[in-house]
Amino acid sequence: METTASLRHALLTDRHRTLTGLYQRTFPMVRRHVQQHGGSAQDAKDVFQDALVIFYEKAVGETLVLSASVSTYLVGVSRNLWRRELARRRQQPLTGLTEEHAERLPELESAETSAALSVLDYVEQLGERCKSVLLAFYYFQQPLEQIARTHDYRSVRSATVQKFKCLERLRAAVRTLFAHDFAR
């Protein structure tokens, strides 16, 4: 069984390969379950990808607790997400979730969500390089050594400075949007 530390390392060093392996091993089990319980292949894809996002964030954030293999974890989370979705569609109260895999993506408060969504638009408008550096550090949680290497910065210090320059650009762009909130 993979340890959470080895999974984290694999995700940080080769995300595409690691996720492809997990996808290949686990998605057929999730698809079978969802299709046997009233869902479509598209439903299966949606819940499985939600489960993978939860898994990724917990693994790199070092809050993942595995009591079985990662595939078992992903199937468990997907099953619960699908049960939740079915209850939502049928407008029924939710019962019988297994505690262990009752994971959800942390959601923002609705007021925060609309503001964060506006920031998201500005992230998309940053240049490709700035966006890549910021997401690599703040979301994908790659170490600055790796970011410096993959983005051709001469040193970790250069990468650090560049990261803050990009954050400054994002803040300046967002400031025009929320001028009344952030007025200085």
Partner: protein
């Protein structure tokens, strides 16, 4: 680093780092002496939330790509198996001629 970047770094350490008790106490003093610090901190917190959403969006796009690649591979394998099956059915008849 420029002072403006150092300020971003200071706020980041407060929001994302693990400040010591001494640093936390110093932060309280700074909040008192720097009236703009609270607003700047709130703004930076919002940036991190936006980046979280942007990251999830990118991860979803990467997962869609993986899904499409695996589906394409599976389709090719099914096609190849069907082609081999058809060849096996035809081959003995051809050899008999």
């Amino acid at each position: 680093m420029r002072p403006a970047l150092k300020r971003l770094q200071l706020i980041e350490r407060h929001l994302l780092g693990h400040p010591t008790a001494t640093e936390a106490a110093a932060w309280q003093v700074q909040l008192f002496t720097d009236p703009e610090l609270a607003t700047d901190t709130e703004a930076q917190h919002l940036l991190y939330q936006g980046l979280q959403l942007a990251g999830r969006k990118q991860l979803r796009q990467e997962l869609d790509l993986i899904h499409a690649q695996l589906a394409g591979t599976a389709r090719r394998q099914r096609w190849l198996q069907a082609a081999l099956h058809a060849v096996r059915r035809v081959l003995p008849q051809a050899l008999r001629r």
